[in-house]
């Protein structure tokens, strides 16, 4: 960097993403607290450790191959041509945004004086990956092996979610071009896919012992520490601020980017490089949170667990279009999403005997799915990209946002890349006897031995002080 203004822009962008990463760490802290609060005493430590292991497992695999997938797969491959290479092949050429630079042995995946952005951008996406895996973690507490969860966490966190990000979140993604897909703050790209994946696993994993009576009536195994759940959810809200900021590009000149001769227009953009403002999305974040909390309080009759979860569901439902919505639209959409998620949770629980321990499928999956469809109606006709506007199914141009495209996108996110792989992987792990802990261990508690050791240690210390 040799000119001061250019250097300031680069260093500002580097610092901006770094701050979002630190903020987003709170999402994981919140998920850990939330899960421990929702689990029973005899499973606490195992529950916490399982979710903690998301951090190293997803991080190293994200380094080895996850980040490469994001940059390689926008074309499908074989579905729509890249605007950079004009080919439908994997993007691995010498172009600026090629996956070639993000192979694990690339010199840009390290300290490099010529690259101030790759590492922080990699980390921002990595924190999204932790979130995807952590969403699944909550649903399956108290009965899954750590080994199985590790495999599933890597699958959703470093593979399946990043495929959908390449398809529907990358500025060159085929879903934007063919379907007009729009999902600015990841209703589907993270939440619907992770919720769907969790549902696929739950179908195979089965409920916790005692969750359903012999006649099939569900029993409430509610959170054992509602205050820990509450603080956990507040931390997730806090981290979500960072998530919203991380989904933006903080400063960008759209004039030359869009090929507009003589036009200079500096702005923040969303992930699709279309203009929005950090200020505007702050309105919408808070209003959709509020809509979710208000609706959750009513529909759950003041139940704290569901009311706090509903704040999150409200944001998730409005997130697909929160770059463009009016704040009151965001509030109402958040409220609608919560009602759908809450009703769906109990309907699926009764009908299919699915034991989603923390309501993760509802809060993330159903609310995210609904948010994508609502976005298709409310933002119908907006361009999905700034680069060109074309017809649906065309592929070489970008389709406008529309209800059908969003519905198909929701199916792809929740079903094709979420529920189906979750189900298949769980079936494979189950076939090897690696998915679920033994019945006697589930009854005794996963922490039994550790607690027993602590008791013996306490006795030893007590006897030595007599």
């Amino acid at each position: 960097m040799t000119d001061q203004l250019g250097a300031l822009t680069v260093i500002f962008t580097e610092f901006y993403y770094w701050v979002t990463v630190v903020l987003m760490f709170l999402i994981h802290v919140g998920f850990c607290m939330y899960e421990v609060g929702a689990s029973r005493y005899k499973h606490h430590q195992h529950t916490l450790m399982k979710n903690t292991m998301v951090i190293p497992l997803v991080t190293v695999t994200w380094f080895f191959f996850g980040w490469w997938i994001y940059w390689a797969f926008p074309t499908g491959p074989g579905i729509a041509p890249s605007i950079m290479t004009e080919s439908t092949a994997l993007i691995t050429d010498d172009s600026t945004f090629s996956a070639k630079w993000y192979l694990a042995n690339s010199e840009f995946m390290a300290v490099n004086l010529g690259d101030h952005i790759s590492g922080v951008f990699w980390a921002a996406f990595l924190l999204f990956s932790w979130t995807a895996a952590s969403i699944v973690s909550g649903a399956i507490i108290e009965r899954i092996t750590t080994f199985a969860f590790g495999i599933l966490a890597i699958a959703i966190g470093s593979f399946f979610w990043v495929i959908d990000a390449a398809w529907g979140w990358h500025f060159d993604g085929w879903m934007l071009k063919i379907l007009g897909y729009h999902d600015a703050y990841a209703s589907g790209v993270i939440h619907a896919i992770a919720g769907g994946f969790a549902l696929g696993v739950l179908i195979v994993l089965g409920p916790r012992i005692g969750k359903f009576s012999s006649s099939g009536e569900p029993r409430n195994i509610g959170p054992r520490n509602p205050w820990l759940v509450t603080v956990g959810l507040f931390l997730i809200y806090t981290g979500f601020w960072g998530f919203y900021a991380a989904c933006n590009i903080p400063i960008f000149d759209l004039g030359p980017e869009y090929g507009m001769e003589g036009v200079t227009y500096w702005t923040a953009t969303n992930i699709y490089v279309t203009p929005t403002t950090l200020s505007g999305i702050t309105y919408n974040f808070l209003m959709s949170l509020s809509g979710g909390l208000l609706a959750g309080y009513v529909v759950a009759k003041g139940d704290p667990f569901w009311t706090y979860s509903s704040g999150l569901a409200g944001i998730i439902c409005a997130s697909a279009g929160n770059d463009l919505y009016h704040p009151i639209q965001a509030m109402l959409i958040g409220a609608i999403g919560v009602v759908i998620a809450y009703k769906m949770h109990y309907w699926v629980e009764r009908k299919f005997k699915i034991d989603d321990a923390v309501g993760a499928v509802a809060v993330h999956g159903y609310a995210g799915f609904a948010g994508l469809i609502i976005c298709g109606f409310v933002l119908n006709g907006y361009p999905s990209s700034g680069y060109s506007v074309g017809a649906m199914w065309d592929g070489s141009t970008y389709a406008s946002i529309n209800p059908l495209g969003q519905f198909l996108g929701a199916i792809i996110m929740f079903g094709v890349l979420g529920m189906l792989p979750g189900y298949v992987l769980a079936r494979i792990l189950n076939a090897f006897g690696k998915l679920r802990i033994p019945r006697d261990v589930e009854i005794a508690g996963l922490d039994y031995e550790m607690m027993e050791d602590d008791r013996d240690a306490e006795k030893a210390v007590a006897s030595s002080t007599r």
Binding site: Y41, F63, A110, F147, P438, D440, A444, G445
Partner: protein, 74 residues
């Protein structure tokens, strides 16, 4: 191993080389192989120890409330 031995020489070169970590340009692939072995090895080791622990605990057939006798005062 050192990629940079004099910052003045390094930064005043006609074209500044960006990668400055030890072994730049020659060690990356080996490092990736070591990293992957470390990662896969972790799964192998922890899978074995977890299976042993679960089998040991299952054999003891504790009741649903037995853990309560293990709750410590500290």
């Amino acid at each position: 191993m050192a990629t940079v031995t004099n910052w003045i020489d390094h930064l005043s070169a006609k074209e500044v080389v960006g990668a400055v970590y030890p072994g730049a340009g020659s060690s990356e692939t080996l490092l990736v192989i070591l990293g992957v072995v470390f990662w896969i090895g972790w799964h192998v080791i922890t899978n074995k120890s977890e299976s042993e622990k679960l089998a040991r605990l299952a054999r003891k057939r504790h009741g649903a409330n037995d853990h309560k006798s293990n709750i410590t005062d500290w």
